[in-house]
């Protein structure tokens, strides 16, 4: 089991530049198993950039990422996912033209025979459909047409599929970039339930959101970024809510 005295993920002195923009400046943070860590900050604060660095889409310019105390390089999304890091991207990385089961396994299709190069292997469709159906069932996601392309599904169903996909494969860390943006109350609630379940299953969950209600309800800890710098790390509750808001918008100025 994971040693409780050690964070699953720690970021040490991370820097990321896009040309003149210093999107991350000396950001350090820890994520613990069974904890929802809210990552807060105004638009352009660098939240998505940080998530993309952890999920292997961007490389850090400086700084280190440690998994279970060991330094790692997450050079590609594949490498990050092999390390047990699952991401639900802000722009919802679903394939409209694929069914939920096909979406679950996109990029890591179950296939055979193993001696063939991966692209030339044959799809094990039955196994993929079965696992996907089990997960959708376990998470109680309601999908009246489970084999239809996800293009036909509502925003909430799509988000639920994206989060469910993460639950199938996550072994350590789940990153969620604004998973409830653009959702109605009822559908957002469903997604929050899924997040709570991820935490209950022992994952370290990093949740980006602009919704302070969701933060106080769900998050165990909150890290605030402002213009690429970490400006706060505290426990969110009703009493600290105002502090969080001022940290986000830079209220002391």
């Amino acid at each position: 089991m994971t040693e409780p005295s050690q964070p699953v993920l720690s970021i040490r002195h991370a820097h990321k530049r896009f040309g003149a923009i210093h999107a991350l400046q000396d950001v350090s943070l820890d994520a613990w198993p069974g904890e929802v860590l809210a990552l807060l900050g105004d638009n352009g604060a660098g939240k998505s950039t940080l998530v993309k660095c952890i999920s292997g889409l961007h490389a850090l310019d400086e700084g280190e990422i440690h998994l279970h105390g060991r330094p790692v390089t997450l050079a590609s999304p594949t490498a990050a996912r092999a390390a047990g890091i699952e991401t639900v991207y802000q722009d919802l990385a679903l394939f409209d033209n694929l069914s939920p089961a096909q979406n679950f396994y996109a990029g890591r299709e179950l296939s055979y025979p193993a001696w063939l190069p991966r692209p030339l292997r044959f799809l094990d469709k039955a196994a993929m459909r079965k696992t996907a159906a089990e997960v959708i069932d376990r998470l109680q996601v309601r999908l009246p047409h489970p084999d239809a392309p996800v293009a036909m599904m509502s925003g909430g169903q799509r988000q639920a599929i994206a989060v469910a996909r993460a639950t199938v494969f996550a072994r350590n860390i789940v990153l969620l970039d604004e998973p409830t943006a653009a959702l109605g109350l009822r559908e957002a609630r469903k997604v929050l339930e899924l997040i709570a379940r991820l935490r209950a299953e022992g994952n370290a969950v990093i949740l980006i959101t602009h919704n302070m209600d969701h933060v106080t309800e769900l998050a165990d800890r909150a890290v605030v970024l402002r213009q690429g710098r970490k400006v706060g790390d505290l426990k969110p509750d009703q009493s600290s809510r105002q502090d969080l808001v001022s940290l986000i918008v830079g209220g002391e100025a």
């Binding site: 999920s55 889409l57 590609s76 999304p77 594949t78 996912r81 991401t87 991207y89 722009d91 990385a93 679903l94 394939f95 409209d96 033209n97 694929l98 096909q102 996109a106 990029g107 890591r108 299709e109 296939s111 991966r118 692209p119 030339l120 292997r121 044959f122 799809l123 309601r142 009246p144 047409h145 293009a151 036909m152 599904m153 509502s154 925003g155 909430g156 169903q157 109605g184 009822r186 559908e187």
Partner: protein, 350 residues
Amino acid sequence: MARQTENGLGTTNLAQSAQGPKGDATTRLALRLLSAGPLLILVLLVLGIAAVTPAFAKPINLGNILAQTSVIAIVAMGQQLVILTRGIDLSVGSNLALCTVVGGLAYQATGGTLPVVLAMLATGALVGAVNGLVYVHGRLPHPFIITLATLSICRGLALALAPGHTTMRGMPDPIAALGSQTVLGLPLGVLVVVLVAGLLLVMTRMMVVGRWITAVGGNPQAALGMGIPVKGVLVAVYVISGLCAGIGAVVLAGRTDAASPVYGQLLELDTIAAVIIGGASFLGGRGHLGHALIGAVLIGVIRNALNLHNVEVFYQMVAIGLIIVLAVEADVLRSHLEARARVQQARGTA
């Protein structure tokens, strides 16, 4: 990005008309009808033309249609994969001409059959590889420009390489047999279509690479995020398209018993039209081999029927153009219906 706007528009426009599970079933039925549309139209067209034009339904004429359609069909299947990944391959016609010329030269040099076939296929695949590699590694925003460039380059090379810059008569007997021989009443060239379709069907429906091609077409950004080797997939798609042009070259050279630098003119437009008319989305992401095949046969049937009625070629072009407009409108309607289905899903589920 496009999905976002479409989503928003659909939601406001269609919210009133969406009504629970009954509306849901209607929407799904309409979508199913829409996707069966091209095949339905083909069947009705064939029956209708056969009723008014006795010469049409004669086995010889039907065989002719298939033979004349075979080159478009083969090349359109490659084009379909390219369009599925949100691209376009404008070079297929010139590529095909270059393939026949290189094959013709190989015949003059060796007198064998195998060298001719290999030369044509290799040339096609090579041009496809150039398209794909320059597209992904030159970081071009769209493959339009590079395939426009190779359209010009291949035609120029074909003309330059052909002795006397003109048609070279004669192909080895086994290749010429593609035009002259029949099996079970079908021209041999048609069997090549079936063979290529079979291979591509296995690749697209049963193999990992096929799923990746669909995924890249559906959402290239997400494909990157999911660790799919997007660049490799795109290069593969253009190589397959080039290879299809090479196979088309073998069939055309066989049927005409000649190689020519002027073959395949406007083939890029015919194949794109076939894919769109067949029912694939011109925006990418949606489409399968059947669309290319149905579209190719539809074009062949319409041309043949108008020929039988002595309608001038210009009007044939007008007719094909009108059908393209119809097909594109059907695609727009489809995305509206999908937006409606999304609203109905949001209302229907707790």
